[in-house]
């Protein structure tokens, strides 16, 4: 090791920062605002015809007239009710079936292929059947959302159970924990992150299916409103309705984020 004279010593900066993202809370809203401003400007200047793409202000006006007439609440409450019932039932059933598939060999061997066969079927294609089975009332709409939420939840839950640390389970079993405690205290908490990210996906799928579910026999609902706007070629209302769906998606994502933080607080 040759001696280095003190005057030759150079300070070495830390170079291993990688591409570490740091929070920039202003960037998201700023991009949104710039996009809206360009869009509005193009519409105001007459570069884009209102038929091609209505100005954001026109869509906002359509939304406001919806608020003023009180129909916003009618549409929202109808859709939210379908969404809450369909998604909750679908998620509950999905978690139950997913746990069974994850825990029992018989369920895994028996149900696994059924799930794989039914998941890719577009629920919109089954709508006519749902109508015959559940009627043109709320039944067929809730059923569409139920089946939309069911399969992704089953797959996420079963996958979550599979990815729980085997050594933890073996340790519990070695220490003589009863089966019930192994499931409730090790498997379920371990699978929870996967179940919650499955819930994000299934909630988004349920919102997507809302428009399809409200195609038949729906007088009110955000999906029915969007379909009406499309029928009427009222593009400003169409954009307003789509914005409503986006807000619903954001709200659901926020709520699930909150639930994640609370349910996974044990991770520290």
């Amino acid at each position: 090791m040759p001696d280095v004279r003190p005057q030759d010593r150079r300070p070495v900066p830390f170079r291993g920062g990688g591409f570490r993202p740091h929070p920039l809370p202003w960037a998201g809203p700023a991009v949104f605002l710039v996009l809206l401003a360009v869009w509005e400007g193009a519409a105001r200047a007459g570069l884009v015809s209102p038929l091609v793409l209505p100005a954001p202000s026109a869509a906002a006006a359509a939304l406001w007239s919806l608020v003023e007439s009180g129909r916003l609440w009618l549409h929202l409450s109808a859709s939210l009710q379908r969404l809450v019932i369909g998604w909750t039932l679908g998620t509950a059933a999905g978690i139950g079936l997913g746990l069974c598939i994850g825990l029992f060999s018989l369920a895994r061997a028996g149900l696994g292929p059924v799930v794989a066969a039914l998941f890719p079927i577009p629920k919109i294609a089954l709508l006519p059947l749902f109508i015959i089975w559940f009627g043109i009332g709320e039944g067929s709409k809730v059923a569409t959302l139920f089946f939309g939420a069911l399969f992704p939840t089953i797959i996420a839950t079963a996958g979550g159970v599979d990815s729980v640390d085997r050594t933890l389970i073996r340790m519990g079993q070695s220490f003589g924990l009863p089966w019930r405690d192994v499931v409730l205290k090790i498997v379920l908490p371990g699978a929870l992150p996967a179940i919650l990210s499955g819930a994000r996906i299934s909630a988004s799928i349920a919102i997507i299916l809302l428009v399809a579910a409200e195609m038949i026999g729906a007088e009110y609902g955000v999906g029915a409103y969007i379909l009406l706007a499309g029928n009427m070629m009222a593009t400003d209302q169409l954009i307003a309705g789509v914005a409503l769906l986006s807000v619903m998606g954001l709200t659901v994502a926020f709520l699930i984020g909150r639930a994640e933080r609370w349910l996974l607080r044990w991770r520290g």
Partner: protein, 359 residues
Amino acid sequence: MPRIARRLLARLVVSGGLAVALGTAGLLAPAFAPSSASAAEDGGADRVVVGALRFTSSAPIFIAYERGYFADEGLDVAFSFFQGAQPVAVAIASGDVDFGLTALTGGFFNLARNGALKVIGGHFHEVPDHEGSAVLASNQAYDAGLTSPEALAGHSLAITQVGSSFHYMAGRIAEAAGFPLSEISLKPMQKVGAMIGALKSGQVDSMIIVPHIAHALDKAGAAKIIGWVNAYAPYQVTTLFTSTRNVAERPALVERFVRAYQRGIADYRAVMLDQEADPAATDEMTRLIHQYVYTDRPYDKAAPSIQAGAIYVNENARLDVGDVAAQVRWFQDQGLLATDFDHTDIVDTRFVEAYNVPD
């Protein structure tokens, strides 16, 4: 929709660019205009695309084509077939189709309001002495007392979509019967097939439908005819329409098209509105129509449906302007259309005789 948007966008960009080019090089403008006009109005066959539905009600246009009336006018007509009224209007707005022949709907009026379309002639019209659309009740609702359209209040009625012609007819019946439309529970089913299914299974109490389907359902015992729309509203159901660009830039071509179409209507009216008069001619015309309508059925099975579906078509494509105005007002009253326009913005009466014109 994206394709349409792109086309309209492209056209805007092109026309914008053209305006700039003409603005900066004003000298070019005079040389430009005549050459483009003469290309469009050239003596050779002009190619036009007609958007139509495979219904017997579209027959006059098939007759005009098969009997060479379009060719006589120097028009090379191609058909583009659609499943519903709305897409035809959208296709004309996007420039994919030149002429359309379908029912007036709320979406149509909104496209016309935005300056994309003009109504230029009349077609199917509800008239008192000729069968048009029928009101049907499900067997269950009929047994429970729904035996006339006046009793529709408190019942459900299947329609294709909000803003469709079925929605409008329900509104006019409610108006004539003296109760608000909100007392009928309208069930949008998207498709006529789904409407029929819902009526047969009793999931909806009633619907409105063209005569040949109504008779078939009634005869099969699947539903009951309880009334006819023509008793409630003289109604200009379908019209001939084209793009605003066509009437503005190629009026001579539109005139030639309408002339050929009127000859098709004359032939249709002479034979199909009185089918007993000359069975041989009726048979011949039914065979002609069969090339376009019910093509999946053998002729013997298709003929009765085609003949029963021969609804009333206005002579010489006359247009009931007063009723078009009433329809616009009705959709505006329902809050489905903006109130900043009326029928004069969407109708061009230069091509056919207009009647019942409001003051």
